[in-house]
């Protein structure tokens, strides 16, 4: 894996949770988030919303990375996300990365996983659909584009 570091491509929201690009695996970014009070839900556990935020951030990071390799430029808009919570998030480092199941012209379907000690035992997974709008479209809604 490449060196970890803050990535300008991550959102202000991701930075505020402490999410960083940990490295790359097979060319795809792997994100990580240290346990801290900003992601704590029940005492000693990750908040489900923070896990969702990490998964979603990883989905976007992997898609942006792939689009960049392909020389494609889009404004990405969320269509939906379905998160499955498989195990409590313990107070330790959490990783997340994604696999692009389908990369179309206008939308992408992405499978995301978050894990802690053991990558083969994810604590949460998500499926995301992301709309890839033309870069010059700055306004408008999903329904009207």
């Amino acid at each position: 894996m490449a060196e970890a570091g803050r990535d300008a491509a991550l959102t202000p929201y991701a930075h505020s949770l402490g999410i960083v690009v940990h490295g790359h695996d097979g060319g795809s970014p792997v994100l990580a988030c240290k346990f801290n009070t900003n992601v704590e839900g029940r005492p000693g556990n990750l908040h489900g919303g923070a896990i969702s935020g990490l998964l979603e951030t990883a989905g976007y990071a992997v898609l942006r990375s792939e689009l960049s390799k392909l020389g494609r430029s889009h404004r990405l808009k969320p269509i939906n996300i379905t998160v499955q919570f498989l195990a409590p998030g313990k107070p330790k480092l959490t990783y997340a990365t994604a696999r692009i199941t389908k990369l179309g012209r206008r939308n992408a379907n992405i499978a995301v996983e978050a894990w802690q000690d053991d990558r083969s035992r994810p604590i949460a997974t998500a499926i995301m659909n992301i709309l890839m709008a033309p870069e010059d479209v700055t306004a408008g809604t999903l329904g009207s584009t």
């Binding site: 959102t11 202000p12 929201y13 991701a14 930075h15 505020s16 949770l17 009070t37 900003n38 992601v39 704590e40 839900g41 029940r42 005492p43 000693g44 556990n45 908040h47 489900g48 919303g49 923070a50 969702s52 935020g53 979603e56 951030t57 808009k77 969320p78 269509i79 939906n80 996300i81 379905t82 998160v83 499955q84 919570f85 409590p88 700055t138 809604t141 999903l142 329904g143």
Partner: protein
């Protein structure tokens, strides 16, 4: 926050001992919810409403003044838990099993987002929730949400 096991969560047997208006400010001041600045707004028999303030450090894109989708998921997850405790009248240990968010449109620039979750069914093992997030007009939601939560039985370490 301490949690005790409750063997039965059927709605008809509730004692209505959970007041979200009093509990929410305490629950929301810590950890992730506190970081997002979630605020209690209102509740009914089986629903609870929170507000996510617009904040520069919660943006989805640095160059646009629109809240990221992640904090909206967090708010709906938290509002969902509150709606379940409100509906069953008790604070019990619950865990999110599955949460789906369908985004209808981005929130408006510099707009706070309001999230209302309704617990429409509680069984012995699960609680079902639906909700919307909007930025002023509930008839024009930013997102629809559906979730399933499980009761966590008898884990004394479950805080």
């Amino acid at each position: 926050m301490s949690v005790t096991r409750t063997p039965d969560t059927r709605i008809e047997e509730q004692s209505y001992g959970f007041d979200p208006g009093r509990a929410a400010p305490l629950l929301l001041q810590h950890g992730h919810s506190g970081r997002l600045g979630l605020k209690y707004r209102a509740h009914g028999d089986n629903w609870a409403e929170l507000e996510l303030p617009w904040r520069e450090d919660l943006l989805g894109e640095a160059e646009r003044h629109v809240l990221a989708s992640g904090p909206i998921i967090s708010m709906m997850d938290t509002a969902s838990s509150l709606s379940i405790w409100t509906a069953q009248g008790r604070f019990t240990a619950i865990a999110t099993l599955d949460l789906r968010v369908d985004y209808q449109r981005p929130a408006r620039d510099r707009a706070a987002v309001i999230g209302r979750a309704e617990c429409y069914k509680i069984t012995r093992s699960a609680a079902f929730v639906r909700g919307i997030a909007h930025d002023g007009d509930p008839e024009d939601p930013v997102a629809h949400v559906a979730g399933v939560f499980m009761h966590i039985a008898g884990d004394p370490g479950n805080g």
